[in-house]
Amino acid sequence: MSPEEDRIPVPERGPEERTDDFDEVPLGYSPEQAMEESERCLECAKSPCIGGCPVEIDIPNFVKAIAEGEFKEALEIIKDTNIIPAITGRVCPQEEQCEEVCVMGNVGDPINIGKLERFVADYARENNLEEVPEIEKNKDFEVAIVGSGPSGVTCAALFAQNGYDVTMFEALHEPGGVLKYGIPEFRLPNEVIDHELEYLDELHVDIRLNRIVGQNIELEELEEDFDAIYVATGAGSPRFLGLEGEDLKGVYSANEFLTRINLMKAYKFPEYDTPITDMEKVGVIGAGNVAMDAARCAIRMGADSHILYRRTTEWSPARDEEIEHAKQEGVTFDTLCNPKRIIGDKDGWVKGIELFECELEEPDDSGRPSPKVLEDTEHKKDFDTVVIAIGQEPNKVFYENAPGVEVKEWGGIIIDDENRMTTKEGVFAGGDAVSGAATVILAMGDGRKAAQNIMNYLEG
């Protein structure tokens, strides 16, 4: 019997229904659907899928366990290397990682590894399948983690699982990093994040919120109290374009726009106190995942939402699934255009953007065709809200106040490739703070590698 070429489709809420709220879009597999999808796996001897996963989950074995209906076993296999599968199953760019190299992809659709991973985690959560072993704190070392995004969380969990005392410092009032303040609930519900993070509580990780290292607690103080420090402060500082009109009212960085809506729940204003301005027509400059999230939030805020991008959609760095969802929900893609300035009215509010037309030329360093601005093609488009989503840089509060920790010109923390230590003894770093804006799973991979290296360092 030849395996089925097509994937078992994932049920999703329709665009009309879902754009009225911030609830999740894909509904996930039922146990029967998950088992059926799992049966498509060839259990390849070489299993290239494992190498495609930055944390090397034993994919064929967990998929096999699902096929056999052994969901708890599947969970244990995944959790062996990935402590937040409900999150990665939702937000990993699987099509470029595990699924890209899946052998089934040669004859049909690759196995839907991400959605299976999500299924296992969701099923385990809903049916209380997880057991957290009581771990004896038997190590004499104390470790501090700075930043509670996916990188810090992964590192913290590994230390706790290995019997270390772990204390995590987080600048904001909630843990989770970008998962909480950036990625909207319709892609990653808070309930899911909170559950995954409860695991840290159960492992007795001491999470100290509202503590900004370099601002209200110094690195030196941490060095006195801890034997090693892992810095995973992310890339949270917004980039602006330096355009005329960026200071107008109604212009947001993507971080501000998303933080107001997601972390502070401005979409429920005035029930929640944090406001966001009324919007009818929103222009989002940029076309990555962050831009898609902002554009899809704007739709849910009741606005006409536009992506403004200088290349064509096929060259967008966003995931195909995100672009597809954005299109279904009514986001308009205005491509091959580059902003010249933001136009304001006499009261200081945004009223539009002046744009150049672009054409695509020879590929640039990123391998994508470079956009060329065409002279004398200026044209205006009306917008009452503009969101700038052209990327983030490492947040400087940490490194500007961390004497001895050196950074690259753009702010990325310098580490030793071998042992992952910064230029300061005993201080290690990883995630977006080192790599610049990347992905959840790469940040987690860094957290794992750092934990291993720090343990070696401590145990000598």
């Binding site: 600048a171 904001l172 009032h173 303040y181 919120l209 509202n210 900004i212 601002q215 209200n216 607690i217 949270g236 500082s237 917004p238 602006f240 330096g242 960026e246 200071d247 009212k249 109604g250 947001y252 960085s253 971080n255 501000e256 933080t259 107001r260 502070m264 729940k265 204003f269 005035p270 029930e271 929640y272 106190d273 944090t274 406001p275 966001i276 301005t277 009324d278 200081g348 947040n395 400087k396 509060v397």
Partner: protein, 281 residues
């Protein structure tokens, strides 16, 4: 959770609270601020630190009722708890021996200059304080300023009901005209006041620093909501400031940007008043 250990309504508009926050009390310095979030649904609002007591582990702030959040905060009583208190935030005021320093506070800016003026006096400066209010009933901190930090104290009211009639800037101009040798000016108050001061002192070449009250969200340097233009460059008031060289600030931009959420703020306050009408008066 942070308990309010003392609360005092100073007048119709301003209230002083003393809050338990030992970690903050340990470290906070004049010119720095804190961010509070009252409850799960609350926004993050910045308030400048006014006084502290390290032994008790408390900090004090004076706030003015503006919109919904500060009205609600005013309903909190002794024993009530604030969910989050984050700080110290921002950079501390530079405290050195300059010679003669004029500290100017406008309205609720006065309690914000108090700790700075006091620290400046403690290191040996001659400190002149000019403090302005709309009317007599709103005057605060006079005794503290007089007792703890001002070599000379001038109170002004817009309507002349107390102290001198007029604005803080009128007194400043008088001092300059009299030939007072001023080495530094530290001013906190409404942007328009700071702008006028910057204009006067630029003409006379007097170094002047101001504390900017742009709209903040996270106050950790992550969102850009508080961005201000300093010397043609974008800076974040929450982490690069709030204190800046007055002569380099683009005040027009600041004054525009702080009105960005006016419509929503009005709606929130009206809603809140409707719900609380009669219950808390």
């Amino acid at each position: 959770m942070h308990e309010i250990v003392e609360k005092e309504r100073l007048n119709e508009e301003m209230t002083r609270i003393e809050v338990k926050a030992p970690l903050v009390a340990d470290k906070i310095k004049p010119g720095q601020f804190i961010v509070i979030r009252m409850h799960e649904k609350g926004e993050r609002i910045p308030l400048t630190f006014y006084k502290k007591d390290e032994d008790k582990g408390t900090i004090q702030m004076i706030f003015q009722k503006m919109g919904k959040s500060t009205h609600e905060l005013d309903t909190y009583e002794e024993g009530d708890e604030i969910l989050d208190v984050v700080g110290p935030m921002g950079t501390a005021a530079e405290i050195e021996e300059y010679g003669t320093v004029v500290c100017i506070g406008g309205g609720v800016g006065t309690p914000e200059v108090f700790p700075v003026a006091k620290a400046l006096r403690n290191v040996g400066n001659e400190v002149i304080v000019i403090s302005g209010f709309r009317t007599e009933d709103l005057v605060v901190c006079e005794n503290e300023l007089d007792k703890d930090c001002a070599n000379e104290l001038y109170i002004t009211t817009d309507d002349g009901t107390y102290g001198r009639e007029g604005f803080t800037t009128d007194v400043l101009e008088e001092l300059i005209d009299q030939g007072t040798d001023i080495d530094l000016i530290h001013a906190v108050g409404p942007p328009i006041m700071m702008k006028v001061i910057a204009g006067i002192t630029e003409e006379h070449d007097i170094p002047t620093r101001v504390s900017l009250n742009s709209i903040m969200l996270d106050a950790t340097g992550m969102c850009g909501s508080c961005r201000v233009e300093i010397d043609g460059e974008m800076k974040l008031a929450c982490v690069d400031g709030p204190e800046f060289d007055a002569h380099k600030v683009n005040f027009e931009e600041l004054m525009e940007r702080i009105t960005m959420f006016e419509e929503q703020e009005e709606e929130a306050l009206e809603n809140w008043k409707e719900e609380h009408e009669g219950c808390c008066g």
